[in-house]
Structure formats: structure tokens, C-alpha cells
Symmetry: C2
Subunit: 495 residues, 2 copies
């Protein structure tokens, strides 16, 4: 028996426990074997990684220290008695081993794996083993089971009407912030569109990051319900409402390993949409040499997988394959993107035309899901709602209901212009490189950091003419971004 | 710049660093992004996992705390100034990603991966990704390159003579402690056999654990050289001499994940033998329904892979497929196995005949590698050296040269007999189950814990007759082992 003592150490994302080496009944080898322990008190139990203290001052004899994550997840008060035991590996690891050996898993296997992952019972190496085994081969049936299991492992949002629309972009195109234009258009039309978005993980901004420049996005499930009931829509961060929590855990391993398979992508996106209560979904799938999807063939294959899984889930899906050859709009980074979005919503004369056009295309496809609208009228209706100010008014109502942003964000005051090394016309812009430069400048953590593009593919530039401006809030960010741009600025010029 | 302060926390196997949340120039998201950091001072650098302290008492402003592993591996004194940066993922991860995608890797890729792993640059999840990708498919050329890379990543032992023999059992058979009989026989004959063995990882005892009942096994490379020069042989623990260190790191991930492919096994074993300077190798490959290799077909496939890789490495190999249908000898656990070994070496009348016979078979195959011996005379010569006491004398010399064991080990005083529930004859003994029961009793950590078998396959037993005795040093061990044996005692009886 040990007495819990919280230890003020943040060991995100892992649970960590601390035991003194002396005064316990364990020897060195036993500690080594105990590396991963199960801590139990009453009905509560967690798995934690064990560290051994060789300093007698931190814990009293008989105490076990719990790091912040472990203490919170166990949920018992300080001073509670707990027992510890060597953690037994989760039983579902047997299925992972079969998958490594080439077997097909059934829905029960996959449910057990995802439930264990969602409850933090898998170590990162075990998650990696599951993901890599799945990357080796994964059937349509497995992908469907994975999607269902992930949606079932978290909360579900429920909506009164039969038609709940959603929209998702599979990403990779800097500046492609159409969601914040599509949602107000759809809300103005009157369809239900409760949009929960993610923050950026590896990109310079996610929709939640950009929306947070204009309004509060950390809304409770109850507040989301209220706003949607009143305004038909919301533009909230999804992280607060625990939709498909296993997805976030899988992503935390996928990203550093660079695992990016079609099956994982479909399961990730559709599980979140299913949990969010969407019945109809438009997917924006940009294809381009530096986008996430790099060929028409890959796009068609991915589209079919989306259609199969969504169909089995009873979800109506419309996958729109779009031009992903270069960034969209001008700004890249939260403040700059928010500026572009508001220019389009306000109908300003110099608003980025490509962002407006792309948003209207997608908003039209969403409105085409409305049975009340004659076929083929979606885009015309979307253009009408944008041009008559109804979408802008809807956006203002959403901003008012969601409340002001937690901090006022301003454009990064430190700037550096990247100029054309020779005269010519812009033949290509590398989405991936532009995103990395914006990220190094500090986006999305520094909301005002990023890149402001002055010209796009096809433009003619004179030698020394600025191609884009890097904005940063901190000198280090400006330096990192400048260095990366000096290596390769992402622009291809032809004479 | 931060000042190093050692923190008395053992975070084996990971490097861990601690920074205070307040007083640093980082925000919460930056800490999250920094999760893995590179710490640099002078020419030294390490990667470490970062934990954030919310308690102001542990570190002074401007200090970075280093856990015991991190402090030791960085190798700089307390108070040294260091810089930190977000750890860049090792460049060789690109090759791992290609392997996940189904590509074949070349030797340069594999060398880079193994060098990074040996230098602790891979997180467990990255190692898992590499191993699972390899488990999906691995060519002979990749297995060869992996073996070479692993041997090259650590120390190498060098021996004067042209013929350096070694012997390895691929494991899974409790009590199969032939090495401690083979080595003295071969030493008495006069071949060079510098045997480095492992400790048990998942079994009730490794050769190093059992030898440590009789003598010190933690010998420096220099002392190993001296003993071999004088006695032709040694029976040392391999962990002290840093042979194929990447192998130990890979195993620390393979075991919990249950990855046990032929390719990994061949690379693991042959890299260790290559690094140990062996030129000729006998492999004992027991085949049985509860052994590691479960069918003749699997054994032949594995044998061919051993032969291919060893051949390319210029190593002479003889793979002996043996009977792995039941435990060998009587004792399972360090003290009990050491007793059996000494009974055989002393030629005692009731020494376990199967252990004697198995050891003579293998010693004979090793001696057959001696060009000076007429073909087919190995086993006869081995029997002669065992029966005339030369092998026992050689063992006594090894024990004297290696020195006394660090602690006197005695047989576990707590005992419980498992009895036959009905009369009949023993039709099968489950190696895996017997090993688990011995392990729960406390072996190998408690050297006196284990199982003493009273009968083997084919024996006729009366109802209530003892089948085996569990020995333990601690009451908890006896209870755990009894409980597991009560579920299933591992013996199959037929009327």
C-alpha cells in the first residue's frame, strides 16, 4: 500500500509515478521490471511509467508520487491509499501481434484496441506497432471497423434536425481557410452546420487557430448546442468536446513517424464527423505536386475509400477534387488568414479572388445537399448570400455569440521581404516549403506570425520585386524563417 | 543558456530533463512542442524527454535538471552551461518511413538507422515502427545488412587464433543449460571458446544468471582476454562488454511487443557472435509444440537464413535441430540448474541423463569443427573429456579465475509440491507454462527460486504423486506460482 502524493511535474502526454529507491521493499531489478505499473485505488486505476527517486527529500516513506497527468487521470485525492502492481499488457495487444503477423482483424479486435488506446492503456511504442502494422495492409472492412470504433470511443453530439451538414478539407494547402466563409454562408441559408475544427499540428494554422483571432473557440458542448439552436452554426475548437479521443492519441504518434495512409486519414476524419453528428459531408480534396494528395489516381482511390466507409455509416458524402497546385488566398498564419477571410466576407474589391471562388465552390456543394433547393443552384445561392451581406451578418452573429477572443492578436511587427532573384514569371509555389517557413516564423503559436504572399503562379515579376513578406513576433522566429527561405524560398521562376 | 543540475531521478531507459514552467521564456504550447529536446554543451549532446516542473523549489532560475541517465550520458559536470533546442528527428527516420511504405532498404540506410538507435537517438515508438515495418517483410540482403550494422555499432572482441568457436541455443526450453557443460569440455580439448552469455529477459534463467551461482560473471574485456589466454575459455556475462548494443535496445522493444521474427532473431544472434569474434558457431535449435520453433518446416527455413547470413559474414555455422518437446534436466531457475550442471560434470550416477546427452551432442558438434580431429569423432572425444574429469577440472579453473559469485545463492526455502490429479503417464509438458510458473516463483531475480521436476514425458505416476516442486524465496512468489500452477500445471496426463 502506498499513499498518493501529487508531484508538480507535467509529464505530458504520459502518466508518470515516482517511488523512492530506499525504504521500499523492491530491489533494483524489480524496479526495472516494474517500469510500467498499474496503480489502483477503489474502482479507479491507471497505468503509469515509473521513475525511481534517489533523493530522500521529495517523498515521505510509504508515499508514491504522481505527476500531474497521472494524478488528474486517477482522480483520487492526495493521501488516498493505493496498491501498485506490474502493469499487465492490455489483452488487445494480442490482436496487434496478429496484425503484425499479417492477419485481418475483425470488428471486436479493433474495438478492443481502440478502447484501450482511448483509455491511455497503450504505450507510444504499442500505438506505433498498431499503426505501422495497419500501414502495411488494411482492408476496407478494417477501415470501416476502425472508423466506427474511434467514433464510439468518445462523446457524440446530437442534433434535432435530420440534415446536419459538415465540410472538411484534407489539408496541405496553406491559406485554404474556406471553412470560415462556407459556414456563415450555409448558416445564412438556414442549414444546420455545427462546425468543430482542429488546431494546427504540423501546419501554420488550423481553422480553430484562425477563428480564435476573431472570437472565442473554446466552447462547452452545452454552449455549442445553444449557439447552433439560435444561429444554425458554430465555429468551435473540437478539442474541448472529446470527439473521437483515440484519433488525437493516434495522431500524436502518426505525425512524428510521418505515417499518412489513406486508411488512417479516412478513419480519422469520418470518426470525428460521425461523433460530431454530421449526416452530410463535403470533402475538399486538393490535388497538386506539393499537396497531401499528389496525383489524380491517388485522389480517386482515396475518394472511393471515403465513399465506401461513409456509405456504410449511412452518411451522405460529396468528395470534391480541387486544384492544390499552390497556396490559396494571400495570408498564411492565423491573423493573416483571418484578414483574408473578412475581406472576402465584406466583399472588398481587393479580397483574394481565389479564396472567394474556392469558398463559393464548396459552399455551393454544401447547399446542393439541401433537398429544398433546385438541383445545381447551390453555387448561385451561395454567391447571392455572400454578395448581399447575409454571410457577413451571420459571421458577426457567430462572433458575438462565441464571445471575444482570449487575447487580441496583431500582425507580427517584425518583417522581412523575400524578393525575386531574377525577372520572370512564377511557374510554381511549393506548398510544403511555404508552410514550413510560416511555421518557423512562429505560426500558429504566435498568431501574428506567417507569410503574406504578394504574387501567385502566373504572375510576372521584376528582379528584386518582393514575392512575399515574412511576419514574426520574435526575432528568433524571423531569423529561422529567413534562413529556411534563403535555402529555398519555395518559388519557381521561369524567364 | 541553462545551467546543468543533476536530479536524483532514475528514468531508465529514457533520458529525462526538467525545466521550471515559470521563469523560463517558453509558453505552454512551446513546451508541448519541445517535448523532445536536444541538450548541447561543447562537443557533447543528448536527446531527452522534457518534463515541466510546476514546483519552484526543485530548480533555481536558469537551471535545467537532468535525470540520472541524461546526466551520465551527457557526461558534463554539474554547473556546465548548455543550450537546448527542439530535437530534430534523426535523418534515418526517412528510411524507416520508406520501409513502412514497402521499400527495400540498402546497407547505407540500415547502417544509419542502427547507428542512430545505438546512440539512443530513437524514441521507443520509432524503434517499434522500424521493427514492425521489418516484421512485415525483410529480404535476405536486408537481414545481412542489419546483422553487419548491429555488429559494427558496438565493440569487437579480437582473438589471436584462427579458430574461435561459439555455441548458441535459440531458447524456449527450460533447464536447457548445456553451455556450462559444453564450454568446459571444449576448453579441456583446447579450442578457444570465449563465451559471453545473456541474462534472462523473459525466461526463468539465462546462462549468465546460472553461472553467477558458481562464479563472478561481470568481467571486463581485459579480464576476459586474460582468462581466455590461460584457460581457452570463459563463461562471462556479455552485457559488460558492449557487444551489439543496438541489439539490446531493439530487444527492449521487441519483447513487450512480442515481435519474434526469424530475421530479427538471426540478426540479433549473429551480430552478437560476430562482435564477440567467433569464427565457427554451433546453433542448438530445439523444435517442439511449446518451444520457440514449433515445426520442422519453420526450423528448416530458419536454418537456411542462419546459413545464408553466416556464410556471407565468413562464419562457419552448424545448425543442430534438436528435440524441444519438453524441459531438459530437472532444475529450472539459477540454483537448480547450476546443481544439474555440476551433477553432470561430476559424473554423478543420478545426474539428469537428458541434459548430459544433449550437452554431449552439442559439444561433439563443436569439437567436430576442430580440423585436427578425425571426422565424426567429436562426440566420442567430448564423452571422453566429460567422463575422465577433464571437463570438471576445466570448470573448476574457470570458476577460480572468474572469482567467487557476488552473493552466495541458496535454494529457495519455501516449497510447494504440485501433484498428479490422477494416475497415468505423462504425455506432454508445456515448456512455456513451466517457464512462466518458475518465473512467477521469483526466478531469475531470486536465484534460489524455480521448479524441480520429478518426472518427465513417458513417466507413469500414481494419483497424488508429486510432479514437481516449486521453490521460492518470498511468500508472494510462492503464492503467484501456486496460483498459476493451479490454473494449469503444464503437465498432460493420459490414463
Amino acid at each position: 500500500m502506498f499513499i498518493i502524493r501529487p508531484v508538480a511535474i507535467d509529464t505530458y502526454p504520459e502518466n508518470m509515478a515516482f517511488l523512492p529507491r530506499t525504504g521500499s521493499s523492491y530491489g533494483a531489478e524489480q524496479f526495472q521490471a516494474l517500469k510500467k505499473i498499474e496503480i489502483c485505488g477503489g474502482d479507479a486505476s491507471i497505468l503509469a511509467t515509473l521513475a525511481i527517486l534517489d533523493d530522500d527529500h521529495l517523498l515521505e516513506p510509504g508515499e508514491i508520487g504522481l505527476g500531474e497527468q497521472a494524478f488528474r487521470r486517477l482522480g483520487l485525492p492526495a493521501g488516498t491509499s493505493v496498491t501498485i502492481a506490474q502493469a499487465r499488457p492490455p489483452a488487445s495487444l494480442d490482436a496487434v501481434r496478429r496484425k503484425i503477423g499479417g492477419a485481418l482483424l475483425d470488428a471486436a479486435d479493433i474495438n478492443a484496441i481502440i478502447a484501450d488506446i482511448a483509455h491511455y492503456r497503450y504505450a507510444p511504442m504499442e500505438i506505433a506497432a498498431f499503426l505501422v502494422a495497419c500501414a502495411g495492409s488494411m482492408s476496407r472492412a478494417e477501415t470501416l471497423a476502425l472508423t466506427r470504433a474511434m467514433a464510439d470511443a468518445g462523446e457524440r453530439l446530437h442534433w434535432p434536425g435530420p440534415l446536419v451538414v459538415d465540410k472538411h478539407c484534407i489539408g496541405g494547402i496553406p491559406g485554404n481557410r474556406t471553412t470560415m466563409i462556407v459556414v456563415p454562408i450555409v448558416a445564412a441559408h438556414g442549414l444546420t452546420m455545427p462546425k468543430t475544427s482542429s488546431r494546427a499540428i504540423t501546419s501554420p494554422s488550423g481553422t480553430a487557430d484562425t477563428m480564435e483571432v476573431l472570437a472565442n473557440v473554446e466552447l462547452s458542448a452545452a454552449r455549442i448546442q445553444e449557439i447552433v439552436a439560435q444561429e444554425n452554426a458554430v465555429l468551435a475548437w473540437g478539442g474541448r468536446v472529446n470527439l473521437s479521443p483515440a484519433d488525437d492519441i493516434l495522431i500524436s504518434v502518426e505525425r512524428p513517424l510521418g505515417i499518412d495512409t489513406a486508411e488512417q486519414m479516412v478513419a480519422s476524419i469520418l470518426s470525428k464527423k460521425l461523433a460530431a453528428g454530421a449526416t452530410h459531408l463535403v470533402i475538399d480534396m486538393p490535388v497538386g505536386p506539393t499537396a497531401k494528395v499528389r496525383s489524380e489516381a491517388a485522389a480517386v482511390k482515396l475518394r472511393k475509400l471515403f465513399e465506401y466507409v461513409a456509405g456504410q455509416l449511412g452518411m451522405v458524402i460529396d468528395v470534391v477534387i480541387t486544384d492544390g497546385s499552390q497556396p490559396i488566398g494571400r495570408g498564411i498564419g492565423p491573423v493573416l488568414e483571418a484578414r483574408d477571410v473578412m475581406q472576402v466576407l465584406r466583399g472588398e474589391a481587393d479580397a483574394p479572388a481565389d479564396l472567394r471562388e474556392h469558398a463559393l465552390l464548396l459552399a455551393g456543394r454544401v447547399l446542393d445537399l439541401d433537398p429544398a433547393l433546385p438541383g445545381g443552384q447551390g453555387k448561385r445561392r451561395a454567391t447571392e448570400l455572400l454578395d448581399n451581406g447575409a454571410a457577413l451578418a451571420a459571421m458577426h452573429r457567430l462572433m458575438r455569440e462565441q464571445g471575444p477572443p482570449p487575447q487580441v492578436a496583431v500582425l507580427g511587427p517584425l518583417v522581412h521581404d523575400i524578393t525575386a532573384p531574377s525577372a520572370g514569371h512564377v511557374s510554381a509555389i511549393d506548398c510544403h516549403r511555404i508552410a514550413r517557413i510560416a511555421r518557423l516564423a512562429g505560426a500558429p503559436m504566435d498568431k501574428g506570425a506567417g507569410i503574406d504572399l504578394f504574387c501567385k503562379v502566373g504572375a510576372h515579376v521584376a528582379v528584386g520585386q518582393p514575392l512575399y513578406r515574412i511576419h514574426a513576433a520574435a526575432p528568433a522566429g524571423l531569423t529561422y524563417a529567413r534562413e529556411l527561405a534563403a535555402e529555398d524560398d519555395g518559388f519557381s521562376l521561369l524567364p
